[in-house]
Symmetry: C2
Subunit: 154 residues, 2 copies
Amino acid sequence: MNDFMQVAIDEAREGMNHNHGGPFGAVIVKDGEIIAKSHNRVLHTHDPTAHAEIGAIRQASSILENFDLSDCEIYTTSQPCPMCLAAIYWARIKKIYFGTDKDEVAEIGFDDSHFYELIKKDTEELSNLFVKVDWEKCLELLNEWNSKTDKQMY
Amino acid sequence: MNDFMQVAIDEAREGMNHNHGGPFGAVIVKDGEIIAKSHNRVLHTHDPTAHAEIGAIRQASSILENFDLSDCEIYTTSQPCPMCLAAIYWARIKKIYFGTDKDEVAEIGFDDSHFYELIKKDTEELSNLFVKVDWEKCLELLNEWNSKTDKQMY
């Protein structure tokens, strides 16, 4: 089997055995070497964002001192949830190796598939969740950014 | 205007003026009190996940020592990107007050809208990005979790 995925699986199993969180592990590879690895730590840290992929991305970015991981690949034991997939997009990672998919993850009780469905909806369709306030004041912020001469796009 | 949104805007402006990242701020409110606030720190920390909402959620979870923020509300100057929206779902937050929307954020050069479109696609449609490997070994992990007698669902 794939050596990098084996490390991701070992990470997942370690986290699961320590009751850190769900059975999920991820590693980030650059130039054929693992530079970061993580497992789900939601229960251990109380942080709902402490998924394996987020942990690995944060670690890799810290090591490389760069938010742009476009020269990296990620190996993750399960298809990333929408939070982790969008984090992968923001990190500009171009290749995701994964094992089980979101429907298989749903079968053991996690909400990934459900959240994928919710995320397809517009804010208007989710009127119980979303409330628009102070639009003009918030738009001023965007305009301030736009006219800022020393801004760095990313 | 809304007092909580004013604090979120102040946060955003502080971050923008210090070149910490884009013009985005968020606060988390519990029982009518602000318990966490954050702004985008992607450039400052090199962490591509350091969006305002993620920062505020991590702070609130740490303070409450609970990944479940279902008794909290979030105020954010712009509609959350898919990463932050999924993080809000994982944190079980039930109400999102926001100002500008993803299309207005796109107009000043950020990829939120683009990522919303990508996230609607299946892994099969994104064959340049996704590669399935070692499915059986990864499925074993999920089954191990499923048969674990001391697992805590979340």
